[in-house]
């Protein structure tokens, strides 16, 4: 067993490639879920909201080793389509649930990508949403939804029946300001990325406030708009610190175990691209891919992420697989960077 205080999170490999036309790759991937066989489901928000870009919105299925397995759903407002997919969760039967912030609904597909149904409409009542974002099944098979502009977490059966809710607008304990990602730990506690309050809140499975971490700056343990997180079997938290372009790894006591900025190399799909674009590859190999120029005034971290390809750019969420590997959904770079613990 690894002692994480003595171990190091090491970059393993990258899954992904920029693809606006569907097929292998992603376009602004916003979340990730694994099925019971370890297959990755990745929803892409897409290139733009222009009609001719709708094909870039989809859910991609692939393996951790980049075997492309297919995709389902595309951009649009009809049943079975998605416009602003935000999050994906799989139930115990492998059905895929996707939240959609533009259409204010949860849509459901079976494991073969056949559309099954939807629920939700815009509003603030039970069964209604105002930009539903993070979704997650708890160990009882209840679907939790962070209902961002209603500043609450709602609970539903897998069939879409409202169960309960908690939270309201504010910055006190148990209150939210546009919550986004959700996660749970081995004990069934629920973690909410309380995005605009720059903190992570922890609740019991029934929604009782337990504690919070955060603060609004770039120091260790503080966040700038945290958007998603994962909690591993040891209770270690992996927080996508979206506005700080990093992932922070924290113990339950708030101690920092690591802070990742991104280490991406070329994925398998990227290598395949360069086998037929050798001249571009040759130019890359001559170039300085990690420049350190004099940046103009502005958001330095974003500027670095826009220029240095290996770095995270708008990392939206983190997942941990059954083997304990850490997957960072690196949205603006259309990829997932994979890390694993070594040593310790």
């Amino acid at each position: 067993m690894i002692t994480k205080t003595a171990a190091k999170l090491q970059y393993s490999h990258t899954v992904g490639f920029m693809s606006l036309q569907g097929g292998r790759g992603f376009a602004n991937p916003v979340d990730l879920a694994f099925d019971s066989d370890g297959i990755m489901y990745v929803p892409s928000r897409g290139g733009t909201d222009a009609f001719d870009d709708y094909v870039s919105k989809r859910v991609t299925k692939c393996t951790v080793d980049e075997e492309y397995l297919g995709e389902f759903s595309y951009g649009g407002t009809e049943d079975g389509q998605i416009m602003w997919p935000s999050s994906i969760a799989l139930d115990s039967d492998g059905r895929a649930y996707v939240s959609d912030e533009a259409l204010n609904r949860i849509s459901v597909w079976d494991k073969d990508g056949e559309y099954l149904g939807k629920w939700g409409k815009r509003g603030s009542g039970e069964g209604e949403f105002d930009r539903p974002s993070g979704i997650m099944f708890d160990s009882d098979g209840v679907l939790l939804v962070s209902d961002s502009l209603n500043h609450r977490v709602q609970r539903y059966t897998a069939e879409g029946e409202f169960v309960s809710q908690w939270g309201s607008a504010g910055d006190g304990d148990g209150e939210f300001n546009m919550p986004w990602g959700l996660a749970s730990d081995a004990d069934g506690n629920v973690y909410v990325a309380d995005w605009r309050n720059d903190r992570i809140q922890k609740f019991s499975a029934s929604g009782e406030f337990l504690r919070a971490w955060g603060g609004s700056d770039a120091e260790d343990g503080a966040f700038n708009r945290p958007s998603g997180l994962a909690v591993d079997s040891d209770g270690v938290m992996y927080v996508a610190d979206w506005g700080n372009e990093r992932v922070q790894v924290l113990t339950q006591e708030g101690e920092r175990l690591a802070s990742l900025r991104g280490e991406s190399g070329l994925s398998k799909w990227a290598h395949e691209y360069f086998t037929t674009n050798l001249d571009e590859l040759a130019e890359r190999e001559k170039a300085n891919m990690e420049p350190e120029p004099e940046y103009p005034p502005g958001d330095r971290l974003r500027q670095e992420s826009a220029m240095v390809e290996k770095l995270f750019w708008a990392p939206t969420t983190v997942k941990v697989d059954a083997a304990g590997r850490v997957f960072v959904v690196d949205t603006a770079r259309a990829r997932v960077q994979v890390f694993e613990w070594v040593g310790g």
Partner: protein
């Protein structure tokens, strides 16, 4: 405050910004004209232009990497609508019109958006600094081929446009000056230019999206020989050339004429400037004098312009650009203060009307004035404005209806028309147009807000009147 004060403030905000609602016009008029001008001239004293930029990137996720031109246009238009520093944003559009840099050649719209950010940062500072920074700007270096301007193999594109379109204008320099200026800018390039050229050539977004460019000065590729430029002799580098340009009397006049054309009244297109005198030579001379006496300080020049009589008397002397039309109308109709699915539509609208932001047709920028208007673009304008005002649940339209209701202006067709013209920015119309509008209002019958069904019908009637006003010739004018 008088109607005249309100009309003048509405004029100021249309020109130094993108228009204002009646509430904002009243608030600013209460502060006073000159105080408002000072506020506009000091954006740094105002809250951040866009406090909710994080919201924009959260919901418009494509606004994170800004890989597509539509994503960049959406971002910019959202910012124009919501900024609390309107002159900063309007000047960015002004400089974009002069230092016109286009997506089509670059395939990298974020590089142009980075240039726009530089205009925001420096737009009210020294014009000398702006010229230095535009010469170092990666998008400009790519656009005008200065990355291909080498010691021993000079490319004159940038040197030529710097003199012809960016600072002095035709007739004030020779071909030798172009050549010498180009020599002085050798070695001003972007890092890893051949990689970025290769990626641009195939519009490569692979494997992981676009990479920002950055300036690089290569001393080994700079021609350090002695040069003769505009009668001066020395081993000039690019900054030395800009020193000489700024001191030259043609530059102040050229910049002044550009400012006059953009902020005051329509001028002929730039290529005609060396043969057609300015519409108001004295005004251009006033601006040139402010430019020279202040050491090229754009804040001083803008202060002179906005406080001048020639500016105050120039209401409706310009045809709104598509961007001014779309952003101004969207601000009045309201409903764009939080990111939403169809924000992209506004960018499509300016494109349909003939102004593809971040992709001007050539280095000359857009032809302005009457050239904005043709049958197709006029229909696009009317349809867009009608669509905006048709929904009387939009917050801006709601606010206008509420004011009409509270003021009692709906009591007669004449007062209703006058009130609506006032609410849309003190639009000044001909007697003929006013008569047509009154006839339209009369046809709608007597408005009443007592019963809910009457209130709904009256709201619809007001919404229709707003649509008709937006279709008039006069509403096309700024």
């Amino acid at each position: 405050m008088s109607e005249k004060d309100l009309a003048l403030m509405a004029h100021l905000m249309r020109r130094a910004g993108f228009g204002a609602t009646r509430e904002e016009v009243e608030e600013r008029a209460a502060k006073g004209y000159e105080a408002t001008v000072e506020e506009l001239l000091h954006p740094e004293s105002q809250p951040p232009a866009l406090e909710d930029e994080d919201l924009l990137r959260r919901y418009h996720v494509d606004g994170g990497n800004l890989m597509a031109i539509q994503s960049c246009q959406t971002y910019w238009i959202y910012r124009m609508i919501n900024t609390r520093r309107p002159l900063e944003e309007k000047l960015a559009l002004f400089y974009h019109s002069i230092f016109a840099t286009g997506y089509t050649k670059l395939n990298h719209p974020k590089a142009i958006l980075n240039q726009i950010e530089m205009f925001r940062r420096l737009g009210l500072g020294s014009f000398h600094r702006i010229l230095v920074e535009i010469s170092r700007d990666p998008a400009m270096i790519f656009w005008l081929d200065n990355k291909d301007n080498h010691k021993g193999a000079v490319n004159e594109n940038y040197g030529r446009e710097l003199l012809e379109l960016f600072s002095m204008g035709v007739g004030n320099y020779t071909e030798d000056d172009v050549r010498q200026a180009s020599h002085a800018f050798t070695g001003w390039t972007i890092a890893d230019a051949t990689l970025h050229q290769a990626r641009t050539d195939r519009d490569s977004i692979w494997p992981y999206g676009r990479l920002d460019w950055h300036f690089q000065y290569r001393g080994d590729d700079h021609d350090d020989d002695e040069k003769e430029f505009l009668g001066n002799r020395g081993t000039f580098n690019g900054e030395d050339i800009i020193d000489i340009i700024c001191e030259h009397p043609a530059t102040g006049r050229f910049v002044g004429r550009h400012l006059y054309n953009f902020f005051v009244a329509d001028e002929p297109q730039v290529p005609a400037w060396n043969t057609t005198p300015p519409r108001d030579p004295e005004a251009v001379e006033t601006l040139a004098r402010a430019f020279n006496e202040s050491g090229f300080d754009m804040r001083t020049v803008m202060r002179t312009l906005l406080n001048s009589d020639f500016f105050k008397e120039a209401a409706f002397a310009k045809i709104k650009s598509p961007t001014e039309f779309v952003v101004g109308t969207a601000k009045l109709a309201g409903g764009y203060s939080f990111p939403q699915l169809d924000d992209l539509r506004l960018a499509d609208e300016t494109s349909n009307m003939g102004q593809i932001l971040l992709d001007p047709p050539s280095v000359e920028g857009w032809h302005t004035g009457v050239e904005w208007v043709n049958t197709g673009s006029l229909v696009s304008r009317m349809n867009f404005a009608a669509g905006e005002f048709a929904d009387y649940n939009r917050p801006g339209v709601q606010s206008m209806i509420r004011r009409i209701r509270e003021s009692g202006a709906y009591a007669s067709p004449e007062s209703l028309v006058d009130e609506c013209l006032g609410l849309l920015g003190h639009v000044r119309v001909s007697e003929q147009t006013r008569g047509d509008l009154v006839a339209h209002a009369e046809a709608a019958g007597v408005l009443c807000f007592e019963a809910p069904e009457d209130a709904q019908a009256s709201s619809e009637a007001i919404s229709q009147l707003l649509q008709v006003i937006a279709a008039t010739t006069e509403y096309q004018l700024a």
